[in-house]
Amino acid sequence: MSHDPYASTRETTEGTVYSVTGGDWDSLVTEIGATKEERVVVNMGPQHPSTHGVLRLILELEGETVTETRCGIGYLHTGIEKNCEYRTWTQGVTFVTRMDYLAPLFNEAAYCLGVEKLLGITNDITERASVIRVLMMELNRISSHMVALGTGALELGALSPMIFAFRERELVLDIFEMVSGLRMNMAYIRPGGVAQDLPEGATAKIRATVKELRVNFKDNAKLLIGNTIWLKRTKDIGILDLAGCTTLGVTGPVLRATGMPWDLRKTQPYCGYENYDFDVITADTSDVYGRFLIRMNELEQSLRIIEQACDKLDVLEGQPVMVADKKIAWPSQLALGGDGLGNSLNHIREIMGTSMESLIHHFKLVTEGFRVPAGQVYSAVESPRGELGVHLISDGGTRPYRVHFREPSFNNLQSTAAMCEGSQIADIVGAVASIDPVMGGVDR
């Protein structure tokens, strides 16, 4: 091998370390072939197109068989939990929405449900606010599953499903943009309700999108369900049975693929999920294909919930979307203008021109925030990846004392070793894709 300071070969106590930069595979294979050692440790990632983000896999190989798998994580650690301790309870939403960036509304919902539990206002949340939350979460579940299915297929070499999946995701993101002004990380769900009401004509637009999505999903399904190559790459791959899921704390589609119908929306309903008619999708194969089928079929269930939510919203037209308590509700109602989402001009006019008290109130609540009675809570929602739990501790102040997220990606990713050891190296990609870890959530 020619000398290259970034891709040289060096001797260590553990054996020879080879570095590759791509394009030099032939010389590498020749070099490794010359050694007597059968066992090779390969470092896959963190910069790798098939590891679903900045995930680093350390694989011990014997030929094509993986004998040991270790995950290296932390490449996307942003210290969000620590940062939350230095900002008000409301500002926390802006942080947590950035953790699992494919499911921002679930992060917000879990966090806000926790804050509301601490405040003791869970029952004061208006029905309209809860229905909007459900609507947005289910739309988000679709956009998240679309990425899971699209990139999962892409990582296994199927390019077209990804293009179609992202087309569908785009339709959902358009709705997010219409409602909150932002396509991702929208900080839309706030302690006490949601940031603002749906714009006029929103339910009609959502219904039209649902109709379009329902047709498109059929196309998507045709690309993969029953596809021979897809079946060969996913059937009986990455098996993790119920006992494995239980002890490893695995939830979500991976758990439901073992036949266990565990879905927090049914078993421990929140946001009024008990008032919606939908099914919990399970599979009994415990493999990558089962998890893929669950995600595919959950799309239709989400559409059903969205339709019911739209019906409810039409009835609840005009109801407030924030708690009545003005000591908690953010004073400034946002308004969507031509240049995006901003402060409502009416509100600015009031605090700057008419009411000194409103100005003081606004100032106090926005800079200092509201106080939350001391104590701790755990609240959990069913995110697209499993149980997303938040552990909040308050010491009675205006800022959290501790915020901890029980991220489904973090817990589920632990099962990589259990799924992959003993399998072929190519099957690791499928197994990891079926867990659908989002590294922003894993590392927080």
Binding site: G74, E85, T246, T267, T367, H391, G396, R399, R406, D443
Partner: protein, 216 residues
């Protein structure tokens, strides 16, 4: 720049209370919830009764039982943590088969009980949740590892070690998980400042935001 790096300071050059409004003074009355009295309500009586029946050392192991905001917290002594966890998992009437996570908390003012580890348990069999909490002194931050009881505690305990410095004895490989291996300190402790870390990249050192310019 002299700065008090203790509780709640260090963020973007803030010193003092961090109260940017100037109105509240932000004097916090720290209230610690006391032990709850029976009946606890909901399924909490059943859980404590069943545990008491199945676990002869119940009175030694459980320091206090707190029911707050419809959630049950069992404060367990560190010495009895492993046995309690095993009983909670194995007793048929309890069957907490999943540990949803380990969370740490740092209370520097709580002398000899500075570090807390909080375990959130879920019983899918009975559809119940409880929380167990353990407190240990900062001077001797050791806890038994629960990886043998719930394998999923592996990464959670590594995270709690990484962020709070709690050492889980018997853990199969207690190393840092989110921070780099050679990182000094445990970032989520209260005495660890926010920011204040130089950024190094290819030999150049960039000072942290709070030291780049005076914002005060």
């Amino acid at each position: 720049m002299s700065q008090d790096k203790s509780l709640n300071s260090g963020a973007f050059g803030v010193s003092g209370t961090g109260d940017t409004s100037g109105y509240g003074g932000l004097v916090r009355n720290k209230v610690k919830p006391g032990s709850s009295e029976r009946p606890f309500g909901s399924y909490f009586d059943d859980v404590t009764d069943e545990l008491e029946r199945a676990f002869p050392e119940f009175n030694d192991a459980i320091e206090k039982v707190i029911v707050d905001r419809d959630e049950l917290t069992l404060h367990v002594k560190a010495s009895h943590l492993f046995d309690t966890a095993k009983k909670l998992r194995d007793t048929e009437t309890l069957r907490f088969e999943q540990c949803m996570g380990v969370s740490g908390a740092h209370y520097p003012e709580d002398k000899n009980r500075e570090l807390h580890a909080v375990y959130h348990l879920l019983s899918m069999t009975h559809n119940r949740r409880i929380r167990i909490e353990v407190s240990i002194p900062d001077s001797n931050p050791h806890l038994p590892s629960l990886v043998e009881v719930w394998a999923g505690c592996n990464w959670n305990e590594r995270e709690t070690f990484d962020m709070f410095g709690i050492i889980f004895d018997g853990h199969p490989g207690l190393t840092r998980i989110l921070m780099p291996d050679d990182w000094p300190g445990h970032p989520q402790r209260k005495d660890y400042p926010l920011g204040g870390i130089d950024v190094e990249y290819k030999g150049a050192v960039i000072p942290p935001p709070d030291e780049r310019r005076k914002y005060q």
